[in-house]
Symmetry: C2
Subunit: 429 residues, 2 copies
């Protein structure tokens, strides 16, 4: 099966090509990109005309909680503790695996309709969750979040192990991480056990770190050292680490982390909305750390549209450093694509449009007078793209959405009804 | 002519009603709202069905430069001086009145398509500019920006006076401000002359103030006092003042300003993008200052979609104060509606849906699975509304857009061609 994306203005994100935008035809055989050439004249089973459109790698969302779409817009004017104690946790206690299935399905649709082709989830691994992932055909770094502060450390780990064993060889699209929730909800013994498991099975560890100042203070009191040094002390730096947030890292922590296989997932919107602050990622990048982007869940971030979150990445650094030259749009695109792939251990598969990589590709259409004209298309992508500009989404060679229509077998009205019932049942408002 | 908006979920923004959302029919006679009742059973010439939709006041953009749509996405990774010196000013020198007409027309369309019904412009008053405003039917606080640092103070003032005299009685939709560019581009003598003119003709003064720290420093050196005290010294506090930016105001400046007829226009996106910083508007609001929202021009803000800018208003304060309770979505809606009306001296006419006020009303449709579900519609409006959710826009009783179709006589393809020609002619990239 040969699919060709013809006549597009292609942003490959391949640094070796050293060009931001090129006129290229992209030839896909089954799931893999096999040719990139100015004019492909060979055979094709399917041609997608991308004339006057932008073609780019699908976006990679490196930290989210896909099961949390139900909690969208629930935290207006709450402080974090009240929101968690009064809203999120009492409801989460009542969520069934089927509820999580529907909420995850919604998040997958939101992801696909806004150009995300890969995401790294960090939620509780209900069996139906993975069904939703499979049905939508999105690429996923999957896990089931674990912690032992509630006394259920082994039980949670068993849930993860079962899911891992049942699904690890199930699909090219699904890989796994081990996800200790955080340094404040996991004991040191538990973290050491998870470290050994990660090393044994060669899995990355995905963990929240230094999200706000209270957390940093708590960890310093508990261990008498800064959070990054706790990672070192517990041997976690021997693993591949995906560190969500890092809103606060001191210079000595940056110095330590940059010598290890560590990626920082910047979640700018969630960090603002929960009153955490602004992570100085410019400094992390300058120090050679691999920085990528996460949306976090809709509970704190309201939406998981990576285009929206990219805008914040760019603007917040310019505002924080009081210097418009500290970031540019192409840098931000890197964080959302190739750096994300590196963070998730998928750099050989996705993150750029290159021969031999999997075809995770989106097409943007800017035929939209309400944002006309555009002097710089890369800036337009980062600053002025709404989900509706993404018209086509291809994942692993399969066209999941075309002309804004989902090509997967999901009854949208039925899904909305199920969600409405859950919202009523759980009294989410 | 009686127009009725039926069955909508109405956000009136009328504090006397003390309700955030009500089921109401809105009855409009010609340009004016004459009835608000749960079920209107009287006669109607036109009925707009708003069942399951949100109906709210049109948004008020209190600081923009509508002629600058040509400069969208031109400032990626430039510092302010380079951008102005190398890009904006050389091109502005070559702009014809007809170029400004087309670029303004585009900005008006962008405004209408994203729910703005009133804006306060601050650009150079070419005669064709006002033609674009008239053709689109948007409500406008108009001006022609003046300064004397380039030796053309009197010439610029003459341009303003001519436009004012020719157009002041032309339309209910157009009012005027006097717009000295800033304290650093206007001499004290010139500012005093403008003050006298503003008092004589009872016009507000619209001026950039304390946009970045360099400006604050320059004014302190020039006058040996802080910017707000310069306004006092020059007698400008006798006028109604619309102060754009105020990214930096000290406590004593806030104390001084709050006792006068002063409004602060917060431009969060532009302030980030130009590296100015984040204005602590929570403090301004707590001190009783009237704070409203501006987008600034597309040159610095990339777009003038007030929904997008409202999101930044909310999130930036939460991040700046490291406290998610300092702002809530309803507060932000106030800034974008009723506070904007107060700032522009239009509080008797617009800013809320009230009997006796002009009908400046927009309708939102959230039948959109990609952002489903919504626990809190007010939060959804501020955090998760894209321009395409605005389906209807009514200004002064006239339906300007319905079901996303502009009902004004503009040939969009022709407009795009004209814009493409200007971009080529002026080599804007």
């Amino acid at each position: 099966m040969i699919k060709v994306i013809k006549n597009g203005n292609v942003i490959t994100m391949d640094e070796k090509r050293n060009k931001q935008i090129e006129k290229l035809d992209i030839v896909i055989q089954d799931d893999t990109i096999i040719k990139l050439e100015p004019t492909y004249l060979g055979d094709a089973d399917e041609i997608i005309d991308a004339s006057s459109k932008i073609v780019m790698p699908g976006l990679i969302n490196c930290h989210t909680h896909l099961g949390m779409s139900l909690f969208r817009c629930t935290n207006d004017n709450y402080n974090l503790n009240d929101w968690l104690n009064k809203k999120i946790w009492p409801i989460e206690d009542k969520l069934t695996s089927k509820d999580i299935y529907y909420s995850t399905l919604l998040s997958c649709i939101e992801s696909i309709k806004s150009g995300t082709t890969t995401s790294a989830d960090d939620y509780f691994g209900y069996p139906d969750f993975i069904e939703a992932i499979k049905e939508t055909g999105i690429r996923e770094l999957f896990t089931s979040c674990v912690m032992d502060s509630d006394g259920n450390g082994d039980k949670r780990l068993d849930i993860f192990k079962k899911l891992y064993n049942e699904n690890k060889d199930m699909s090219d699209l699904i890989t796994f991480s081990i996800a200790p929730h955080s340094l404040y909800t996991c004991s040191s013994l538990y973290l050491e056990k998870l470290r050994d498991l990660a090393l044994k099975y060669n899995l990355p560890i995905h963990i929240h770190l230094s999200e706000n100042l209270d957390e940093v203070k708590e960890i310093k009191q508990k261990y008498n050292m800064k959070p990054a040094f706790v990672l070192e002390k517990l041997g976690l730096l021997k693993c591949k680490l995906i560190l969500a947030h890092c809103t606060y890292l001191d210079d000595d922590e940056i110095e330590l982390l940059k010598n290890h296989d560590v990626s920082i997932v910047h979640n700018p919107v969630s960090n603002l909305n929960l009153g955490c602050g602004i992570a100085p990622i410019k400094k992390y990048i300058d120090n050679g750390l691999n920085v990528c982007i996460g949306t976090d869940g809709q509970g704190s971030a309201i939406n998981i549209d990576m285009f929206y979150h990219m805008t914040f990445v760019d603007l917040l650094q310019k505002g924080l450093y009081k210097d418009p030259t500290v970031m540019n749009s192409y840098d931000v695109l890197k964080l959302a694509t190739i750096n994300g792939a590196k963070a998730l251990g998928l750099e050989d598969k996705v993150g750029s449009i290159e021969i031999g990589k999997k075809a995770d590709i989106i097409i943007l259409d800017y035929d939209d007078i309400s944002i006309y004209p555009t002097a710089n298309i890369i800036s337009q992508i980062v600053h002025n793209t709404r989900n509706y500009h993404v018209i086509t989404s291809i994942i692993n060679g399969k066209t999941i959405m075309h002309n804004r229509k989902l090509l997967i077998n999901i009854n949208e009205n039925n899904l909305k009804n199920e969600i409405d019932n859950i919202m009523l049942k759980l009294d989410i408002h």
